[in-house]
Symmetry: C2
Subunit: 372 residues, 2 copies
């Protein structure tokens, strides 16, 4: 692993779409008491189901600290496609702390290590210590033998960007312009930075994400590429729902914008759960918060969205909330991904921790001659 | 009224503290159906009580559109200290749409007309049309015969700044760095702009304001000057309350910062209501929302804070919520303002609209030879 001083775009690298072939997927075993109530039992069950679904078509690397590694190896002993990597982290959000990977025309893959500050640092970050998370991307690159661009001190999370692999990147203003990220930069400077790192020619700025999303409204919870020129957008027809206005604002942008290749977007509306998913008193009692860690209130609405799926080589792993719209979402995605198997996953234990399936996974693109 | 092309600081003007002598106070008669439920009856009662309290020691100008002017004149017929000004607005937030006034050493007073975009424009603004609000500051300056600086296209609201009159201005990062205000500017550029317009030498950036404050957390709801070097800070000792972390972050800044004159701050903690003030189903039914207007949800917590008081020449007008901390807040303010009369006002009808007493008032500083 060598340290690189140039920028990905000038080196001919760009970020592939998630729907392009993967070498594998990085996940992190969930143990943080302030994110996963009651010792993380329920969350671990869901994480395991997701890892198994993904491992049907690609490798999975499950990060874990030294303390939990032996037990995890035991749990995974009959699952050879799920590898344990002993890398310590502060929580389990592989999407946000893992490397964002870029690839050149020759099929070389490199990672990017953004500065991570727990979604807002001292301004509105969700926990007070994020040193291990901040080092995770580089550690993963080392383990997977990828060179790594160091983007520090530029603050970004993997969940705040989506690439179509053809020069277009989706982001939200709510997140990327949040005071807790890069307040010393103007919107234009941030856009130029993204272009240079992701090899993009066009940045599409959606205004907002999902109501109450504590990542400052990551794009990966509200809008995702199905393939170049085609997106799903989290949606509600209920004008009384606070999400209506947020989704409508994004729809307007998507309807008027063109992508880097000049195409208009084909937009598929994916309903949010009809009944808001809220945290219960019972769940609340299972958390153990640290000093400086964000807390929840009973009844608080969670940012549940079916857009937070993961596209594996052979499947789409989709969150389910026990809502009447669960099946509708599956049906829509089934039609949009006819060549992939749809895996419905009971995701309440993950959304209770503040994110969903896409947030806890990070694809490593397929390189030209790397083992798969 | 002449248009001025120079900047206040270079002309020798600066923003006085609210505790300095006033020529009077601007308010706006509340009639908007999406802010004031059930025809605004309750809100109008509270506004009237506030205007009466203020008029005991200074003039009050009550803005009103042509449609409601005759009725309002009737209501005010035996209150000669409250003048009706026929200026149309989109709602009733005089603090945010009225002029921010600056004064020079000779006692000349000028207004500033910021760009107003309903607290976030198309990004997260609270209503879709704000043209009348945006023109209000200039119209008020014309009526009150003050020259006016035009700060457009710099977006700012009066509630997002507090001055000590001696070169120090308090703001919040949450508001001033919000993507809906001036995303084309860096934090440093915004700071320099404030210094030039307000004649300030030091900008104190508190990170956050009051939890759930839909103005993106205006400073005037969380922290206010009692006099130079001395502030009140909205506070809770309850670590389970989401406000705890926000207030703690501001406390840390205030404890380490110095003001423009090099003084450490004397910080007085003013409790927030002990029991969260939430909107009821009953209140919700009384609203009539327009297309593109922000809606509320039943049970939603409102940003109730006693810091949102108004300092008049002879008094302090303080919001009351029917909470056990109502009296505690009055007691603290009584001690801090021994020379002023304390006016407790039933403020639930105002917080239901999204703001409080400070938000609906805007002082016009006393000039050298202006009628009072």
């Amino acid at each position: 692993m060598k340290k690189i001083v140039s920028l990905p775009a000038e080196d001919g690298y760009r970020m592939p779409g998630e729907f392009e072939p993967h070498r594998g997927c990085v996940m992190i075993w969930p143990v943080r008491p302030g994110s996963w109530p009651y010792g993380g039992k329920e969350a671990q069950k869901s994480f395991l189901e997701i890892a198994e679904a993904i491992s049907e078509s690609e490798k999975v690397w499950m990060l874990c600290d030294h303390e939990h590694a032996a037990k995890l190896r035991g749990i995974l002993r009959d699952k050879p496609e799920i590898y344990v990597l002993e890398i310590p982290t502060d929580d389990a959000w592989a999407r946000d702390v893992g490397p964002t990977c870029v690839r050149n025309r020759q099929g070389n893959v490199r990672g990017i290590s953004w500065e991570f500050n727990a979604w807002g640092g001292t301004f509105d970050g969700l926990y007070a210590h994020w040193e291990k998370d901040d080092r995770a991307a580089k550690a993963i690159c080392r383990e997977l033998e990828m060179d790594c661009y160091d983007a520090h001190p530029f603050v970004l999370e993997g969940g705040s960007i989506h690439s179509d692999g053809e020069g277009t990147v989706l982001v939200t203003e709510a997140c990327l312009l949040s005071p807790g990220r890069n307040p010393q930069m103007t919107k234009e400077e941030i856009e130029n930075h993204l272009k240079q790192y992701l090899g993009a020619e066009k940045i599409i700025w959606l205004p907002r994400g999902i109501y109450q999303d504590e990542t400052n409204e990551h794009v990966d919870n509200v809008c995702a590429f199905v393939r170049p020129g085609e997106v799903v957008l989290a949606w509600t027809d209920n004008r009384e729902d606070p999400q209506w206005e947020l989704s409508m604002a994004s729809l307007k942008v998507l309807e008027t914008e063109r992508d880097a290749r000049g195409r208009a977007f084909q937009i598929h509306r994916l309903p949010i759960p009809e009944k808001p998913v809220c945290i219960t008193e019972q769940e609340l009692l299972g958390f153990q918060f640290e000093e400086g860690e964000d807390r929840r209130e009973a009844g608080e609405r969670l940012a549940a969205s079916y857009v937070n799926f993961y596209i594996s080589n052979g499947g789409v792993i989709v969150p389910q909330f026990g809502d009447v719209n669960d099946k509708k979402a599956l049906k829509i995605l089934e039609n949009l991904f006819p060549e992939r198997k749809i895996y419905p996953i009971w995701a309440r234990p993950i959304i209770v921790g503040g994110g969903n399936i896409h947030c806890i996974t990070q694809q490593i693109p397929q390189g030209k001659d790397i083992d798969i």
